[in-house]
């Protein structure tokens, strides 16, 4: 038995040393720039520098953008930003070059007789509004839909939700974040009843051990990873990489442990078994703050159209949970997972050690998982059993991949079941939203319609006839892509795409609207640590390009919703944000006022009494705690978090004799998602010109494949030929291959599988069976 902060004196001491070290590091910033090094760099003294959150990933680095004569010309990390403290990654440093690709869309294009014809913005918006009204008239409200993204600014998503859910009256609102962190959301909802991480990036400065669960942080969250490396130099922390593939992260870690795909479920349970078996459970924490639940099993994989699933939670007790874990002894799990019992015990020992503060970090490995909600639950189980949660350095932390996946999709709620505050199924929530939106409550339907995969299936079937796609590229990112591409191209479908460059998604559009991106307009993003950040317009958008927010407002007005879309062009971002804040006007979710966000590099909600909240559910830091105890998991009615009994179940499609390899897909440091921006940045394109397939050296040798040779990958969905990469960026385990998905000319998603987590409906891009041959 122990209490979680017994050694306060030691803690304060450590903090003092730490801050002294940080101070020292800023006073002696290494070796000064030699004159010789600066010779070739042009003078940048005349630039006008303004702050913005980075355009790319969900880390949400603060950047300073330098403009000169109306053009963005330079980027540097914002030293004032607590996220990145002045550092960026290669994408961030070159982000502004994404504004200036030569094939930038500057005029609306309308497809007439198979040809794209330039038109004016007025006409194009008229056409969009007309088509939407026509479709509603002939096919009903639920035949129109909007598909947005985690790159939507907060006002973009808010306008979309208000127009579709509030005014038109359909829940056909989805976003690509469904493909990216829906499992994180359902993980939070099922375990804690309220979305988004309890901790923050500052946990990195306090934790002693970092567990990376299937997370190649060195490439995908490089700036945060550099904070981990920084801590290792200063405090000798441990970084443990638990993954299916050897990556740059594995190389930088203190220990790399490989597991067989999908078996992270078993290993997480084995860690819980060890914790209980060795008496490392923080009993008083569990008794005071946790309940035990079990749910349905054998849920299926969502492969068939109209697949439905609803979990049935059932209360159990600690004894039943302990009994369940007997199937997950390290020795038994070793056989399933390929992780030695010794390594499982090694990991459990760190989690169980009361003197070690632990941060678990994950992203797509756990979210794009056919049991994504379960594995999220299981990692929370470990932290709850040991009471290592919601306090500085003890933090299960779900990372995100898009700049506003949290800020817009999760907080504004641009998913079919969501409202800015609450869900459409709840009458009170509907009434609350309708009041702020100034619409009759009957407008908002009480039933969710389609999640992303099902929405594209509905488009294929003809249940959806009109789709407006903004800031995302589903014709590269949808799994089992061919079906959805063919479906979108069918007669009688009308597709509007708002984007900044031609992409495979604009290729299927009937109307292409040129968008103003990032600093070409004013906006707000919300990052992984609940930090909302504001950016001003710094440069003019090219041609007739218009912000996604204003496109939506213009179409809403044309559809007769002037009353709800009363915003003025000059001040609409401020008006929308102030209106949006009303939805979260409570201690659990209050958003910072706009003037605060304008004056500093963001603020973390709940923003109460002028202060950001760093650690939620902890009475010491979170003003929303009201139960008088040290922790209060107020997302659940009884204030208790839930430890879930979740078993190991295999993936939807595992390798067999015909398709003997695992196919894993993912990203690279140079390119951001589908590369529509980063591939137009010469620095990044030169460094990573095309996709490839990574093989294990043994497999390559047996198949007589060398780096650069063409390799044919075949799955039950189709085939693709890619150049091989052996011992280059990463090395998959034997009988596994890895392909990055950024390359629209080598579409790996044509052959991936559209199985998804039945609870979150997030597809599993990391696992399907593939045949590998030398082409």
């Amino acid at each position: 038995m122990y209490t979680s902060l017994t050694n306060r004196r030691k803690f304060i001491k450590k903090m003092a040393i730490l801050s002294a070290m940080t101070a020292a590091a800023t006073m002696f910033p290494g070796i000064l720039f030699a004159d010789e090094q600066e010779k070739g760099i042009p003078n940048s003294a005349n630039l006008d520098w303004k702050k913005a959150p980075c355009r790319f990933c969900g880390v949400g680095c603060g950047v300073l953008v330098g403009t000169e004569n109306g053009k963005a010309v330079a980027v540097k990390g914002d030293p004032k930003s607590p996220v990145n403290k002045g550092l960026c990654c290669v994408k961030g440093y070159h982000s502004i070059m994404a504004l200036y690709g030569k094939d930038r869309l500057t005029k609306p294009l309308v497809k007439r007789k198979g040809q794209y014809v330039e038109t004016s913005m007025e006409e194009a918006l008229d056409l969009v509004a007309f088509k939407m009204k026509e479709t509603i008239k002939s096919h009903g409200k639920d035949a129109v839909s909007i598909y947005g993204s985690g790159q939507w600014t907060i006002p973009d998503g808010y306008a979309a939700s208000k127009l579709f859910k509030g005014c038109i009256g359909t829940n056909n609102v989805e976003a690509n974040a469904r493909l990216c962190m829906a499992s994180a959301v359902t993980g939070f909802m099922t375990s804690f009843g309220i979305d988004e991480p309890m901790g923050c990036y500052e946990d990195i400065d306090h934790a002693d051990v970092f567990f990376l669960w299937g997370n190649n942080m060195a490439e995908m969250h490089p700036v945060l990873f550099s904070r981990l490396l920084d801590q290792r130099l200063k405090r000798d922390v441990k970084i443990i990489d638990f993954a299916t593939r050897t990556t740059r992260t594995s190389k930088a870690s203190d220990k790399s442990i490989l597991f067989k795909p999908q078996t992270d479920l078993a290993v997480a349970n084995a860690i819980c078994y060890e914790i209980i078996n060795n008496g490392w459970v923080n009993t008083s924490f569990v008794e005071k703050h946790c309940n035990f639940n079990k749910g349905l099993t054998n849920m299926g994989y969502g492969l068939e159209d109209n697949y439905k699933f609803k979990d049935k939670p059932e209360k159990i007790d600690f004894t039943a949970f302990k009994k369940f874990l007997e199937d997950y002894t390290p020795e038994k799990v070793e056989k399933v997972s390929g992780v030695s019992a010794k390594d499982i015990k090694y990991m459990a020992a760190y989690y169980g050690d009361p003197n070690k503060k632990i941060m678990s970090l994950w992203c797509m490995g756990m979210n794009q998982h056919s049991r994504g909600t379960w594995i999220n639950n299981l990692v929370y189980n470990i932290h709850l059993l040991t009471g290592k949660i919601s306090s500085p350095g003890n933090s299960p932390f779900s990372l995100t991949g898009q700049p506003s996946a949290c800020g817009t999709v999760r907080e504004v709620g641009t998913l079919t079941h969501k409202l800015p505050h609450g869900v459409v199924m709840n009458e009170k929530h509907r009434e609350f939203a309708a009041k702020i939106w100034d619409v009759p409550v009957e407008n908002i339907p009480s039933k969710p319609t389609y999640h992303t995969v099902e929405m594209f299936r509905a488009l294929d079937r003809g249940d959806i006839r009109f789709m407006w796609i903004q800031v995302t590229n589903p014709m590269v990112t949808m799994p089992k892509l061919k079906r959805y591409r063919d479906g979108a191209k069918k007669e009688g479908r009308f597709i509007v795409v708002s984007d900044i460059y031609p992409t495979p998604t604009t290729d299927i559009a009937d109307v292409i609207l040129p968008s103003a991106m990032w600093i070409e307009r004013e906006g707000l993003f919300g990052n992984s640590e609940r930090r909302t950040q504001h950016f001003d317009q710094m440069v003019d958008p090219p041609g007739e390009a218009m912000s996604d927010t204003w496109q939506l407002v213009e179409v809403a007005k044309r559809m007769g919703y002037e009353k709800q879309f009363y915003y003025k062009e000059e001040t609409h971002i401020e008006e929308i944000y102030n209106e949006y804040r009303k939805h979260h006007d409570n201690k659990k979710h209050n958003m910072a006022p706009l003037e605060v966000l304008k004056s500093q590099p963001g603020a973390m909600w709940p923003f109460v009494d002028g202060k950001s909240t760093k650690w939620r559910f902890n009475a010491k830091y979170d003003p929303a705690c009201s139960n008088g105890k040290d922790f209060h998991f107020y997302g659940k009615p009884d204030g208790k978090a839930i430890i879930w009994q979740r078993p190991y179940e295999p993936a939807a499609e595992e390798p067999d004799s015909e398709y003997p390899y695992w196919l894993n897909t993912g990203r690279v440091v140079e390119h951001w998602h589908t590369g529509s921006m980063t591939r137009r940045i010469p620095v990044l394109h030169k460094a990573m010109p095309h996709a490839y397939v990574e093989l294990h050296p043994h497999d390559a040798k047996r198949l007589q494949i060398r780096t650069g040779d063409n390799v044919k990958l075949t799955t039950r969905r189709g085939e693709i030929v890619l150049p091989a990469s052996i011992n280059q960026r990463g090395v998959p385990a034997p009988m596994q291959v890895f392909v990055p998905f950024f390359d629209e000319n080598l579409l790996i998603n044509d052959i991936t599988l559209d199985s998804f987590c039945p609870i979150s409906k997030e597809p599993d891009y990391k696992k399907c069976a593939v045949k590998v041959e030398k082409a």
């Binding site: 002696f28 910033p29 290494g30 070796i31 000064l32 720039f33 030699a34 010789e36 090094q37 010779k39 070739g40 760099i41 042009p42 003078n43 940048s44 630039l47 330098g66 330079a74 980027v75 540097k76 550092l87 960026c88 990654c89 290669v90 440093y93 070159h94 094939d103 060195a218 490089p222 990873f225 550099s226 490396l229 920084d230 130099l233 200063k234 050897t246 740059r248 190389k251 930088a252 056989k335 031609p502 495979p504 290729d507 440091v669 140079e670 137009r680 010469p682 620095v683 394109h685 030169k686 460094a687 990573m688 010109p689 095309h690 011992n727 280059q728 960026r729 090395v731 629209e744 000319n745």
Partner: protein, 233 residues
């Protein structure tokens, strides 16, 4: 009598042995088949980027080291010591033992570096200390004269300070990194040429900001081209 006892005891022994062996095999047959996990015959993988993080524990020391202005190496001497840009440097000093492997001789100084009063210079650090047959590639220059003059033209090395895409953005890597995956060995520490010494060695994950410029390496990757160009007028 004795003979008979002997035979009987032999049979008893055989019988016992049979029971024991049968029992053992029966017991093992009952056990669940257990296939021990092979812990990978060579789990050690060598990425082409292998070594980026080697010696990173020294990075903080490098960052805090004062600059010894009087003994700085320059990029000129760095390249002068190579037959061409990218060639392995020659050994500009006599070697201690002609017969030994580098592990016992060269690495004594070239693994960790340090000041050598004899040469009045800091020892450069090797980016690949795991390869100990140093003189397979690195040769001592025992004479200044030529057998015959050469017409070989030494390729111009990349110029410092022009590899940035934007003002102040991190420079791209203008050279190939094979055998030189460990950035810190040349770009940090007292032996680093002053023109290419990094101001922030403590960052470690160099390639998070500095990416290779493949065009400089002759890899064709000029402009991203879409397969579908239906928009082009």
């Amino acid at each position: 009598m004795r003979k008979r006892l002997g035979i009987i005891s032999l049979f008893i022994l055989l019988f016992l042995a049979f029971i024991i062996i049968w029992n053992y095999s029966y017991q093992t047959g009952l056990k669940e088949a257990y296939i021990p996990i092979e812990n990978g015959d060579d789990s050690e993988v060598f990425l082409s980027e292998n070594g980026v993080f080697e010696n990173s524990q020294l990075a903080l020391d490098y960052a805090n080291m004062p600059v010894d202005e009087n003994h700085q190496r320059t990029l000129k001497t760095y390249y002068d010591n190579r037959a061409y840009y990218g060639a392995p440097p020659s050994i500009p000093h006599p070697v201690k033992e002609e017969m030994s492997m580098g592990g016992n001789t060269c690495l004594q100084c070239h693994q960790s570096g340090g000041f050598v009063p004899k040469y009045n210079a800091y020892t450069p650090i090797t980016p690949h200390p795991e390869m100990i047959n140093c003189r397979q590639c690195h040769m001592v220059q025992n004479t200044e004269t030529y057998f015959k003059q050469t017409a070989f033209a030494k390729k111009q090395a990349p110029i410092v300070g022009i590899n940035n895409a934007l003002p102040g953005s991190p420079p791209m890597i203008p050279h190939q990194i094979q055998m030189r995956e460990n950035c810190l060995s040349c770009h940090a520490g007292p032996a680093a040429p002053k023109e290419i010494r990094v101001t922030h060695p403590e960052r470690i994950n160099c390639m998070q900001c500095h990416v290779p410029d493949n065009t400089q390496l002759g890899i064709d990757a000029i402009i991203f081209t879409r397969d579908n160009n239906s928009y082009d007028e």
